[in-house]
């Protein structure tokens, strides 16, 4: 009965590992009773419960993780140690359980490195292959698939899996994409790597989009994943409303806009590429219309940085004839 009651308190985890989480929770609740005296003592001495301190330590760790500029592998190594320490120090608390969940879905730094090296080699072989596009895809699909299976759980494996999913024959695609995505959620649902899911957004049906991105924004422990899920869906709706692939209704507009405002309020400092979700949400929400950019209109100001980090403004060049060239080296 007690177990049943406790079960209800387990935060809904994503598809898998529910059983595992519950087991850990039960084990931990039994531990709470034992150091009750110590717990009460610390409660009195600090004026703040262990639960609260654990929660704030976890929040701090989450923020530090988000702010960290380390590469994904180094970041993982460093934060694995820190999450581990938190689970030990605050064992028995909800926050420690959440930290354990983070650890459960992690992968080792060595595994991440090996997977990304193999993926890089595979991409190079693909780009250097002289085969025609169809033959090339046929030849490389099993290779990407094997990599995904061998290193399942790593970021590179997820990228490889996406590659395979995008190249599935059109008539099979809608049947397999649901199963494949469920499998991804099983392994990656609590992982930071799943922030990539937006790369598949155009391949999902409307129902699938709502389900998958809704699940991530509600349940991911990572601010970066939640922000990505909110942003990717809002941006998709805004963009494809223009092309008539999403219904251009006041409801859809308002849904996308209010999510973008939410990003600006609650996820403004979460990094995205070289900028933040605050900056990107503002860019989508306040994008110029075709009329704003029509011939005869004043060009809107651009404030930005060069790759060296120096500030640069379009208005600096007033008094000169200017060609603005959106370019990329590809």
């Amino acid at each position: 009965m007690l177990v049943g009651a406790r079960k209800a308190e387990v935060p809904s985890s994503l598809h898998a590992e529910k059983g595992l989480v519950t087991m850990r929770w039960v084990r931990r609740t039994s531990r709470i009773r034992f150091p009750l005296g110590a717990l009460l003592l610390s409660l009195v001495s600090s004026g703040c419960s262990k639960e609260e301190r654990a929660a704030s330590a976890l929040a701090e760790l989450g923020e530090a993780y988000t702010a960290s500029e380390l590469g994904s592998v180094d970041k993982f190594t460093e934060f694995t140690a820190r999450y581990q320490e938190l689970t030990e120090r605050y064992s028995g608390t909800q926050a420690a359980m959440d930290a354990e969940k983070w650890l459960m879905t992690g992968t080792s730094a060595a595994e991440e490195e090996a997977a990304s090296a193999e993926l890089a080699a595979l991409k190079e072989a693909y780009s250097e292959s002289d085969l025609g596009r169809t033959e090339k895809n046929e030849e490389f699909t099993p290779k990407y698939q094997t990599l995904a299976e061998d290193y399942w759980g790593t970021d590179a494996a997820l990228e490889a899996k996406f590659w395979v999913m995008r190249r599935a024959p059109r008539d099979e695609r809608s049947a397999t994409i649901g199963e494949d995505t469920d499998a991804i959620f099983e392994r990656y649902g609590q992982s930071l790597h799943i922030k990539r899911l937006g790369e598949l957004i155009t391949n999902f049906s409307e129902e699938q989009r709502e389900e998958y991105f809704g699940e991530l924004r509600e349940n991911s422990p990572h601010p970066e994943v939640r922000a990505a899920a909110i942003y990717d869906l809002a941006r998709y709706i805004k963009r494809f409303m223009r092309y008539g692939m999403v219904e251009d209704s006041p409801e859809n507009r308002e849904k996308a806009d209010s999510d973008l405002r939410l990003l600006m309020e609650e996820y403004a400092d979460v990094p995205k590429g070289g900028v933040t979700y605050g900056v990107m949400a503002d860019a989508v929400l306040n994008a110029y219309t075709d009329e704003d950019l029509a011939i005869g209109q004043p060009a809107p100001e651009i404030v930005g940085v060069t790759a060296d980090g120096d500030e640069i403004r379009l208005s600096q060049f007033l008094g000169k004839v200017v060609v603005i060239d959106f370019w990329g080296d590809w």
């Binding site: 900028v275 075709d290 005869g296 209109q297 640069i312 007033l318 004839v321 603005i324």
Partner: protein, 99 residues
């Protein structure tokens, strides 16, 4: 694309003209392209991918996208490339000097 733009920039070196890039490459690729292609004109670096903030705000979905602006900051033409870009720029420079 680069050779034409290089020659435009060097031809108009002493004129009130500027070519400004808005670049959507990852930083390493950007630096590599600048060095390899001898790109001397200034560029905004747009967050490292094609969904960067400037391209997003300007609704750019194809590359290259070109805007040509006169000395008063008014948009005068779009997506003219190569010789047609030169023609527009020369015309705007003449108009500017003619008052």
């Amino acid at each position: 694309m680069y050779p034409h733009e290089r020659s435009l920039v060097s031809r108009l070196e002493d004129e009130p003209f500027a070519l400004i890039g808005i670049n959507s490459d990852p930083k390493e690729d950007y630096f590599e392209a600048i060095a390899r292609e001898n790109i001397t004109w200034p560029s905004f670096w747009d967050g490292g991918d094609t969904s960067g903030p400037i391209a997003t705000k300007w609704g750019v979905t194809g590359w290259p996208t070109i805007y040509i602006i006169d000395h008063e900051g008014i948009i005068r033409d779009k997506n003219k490339r190569d010789e047609r870009m030169d023609e527009v720029v020369d015309r705007l420079l003449e108009k500017m000097k003619g008052g």
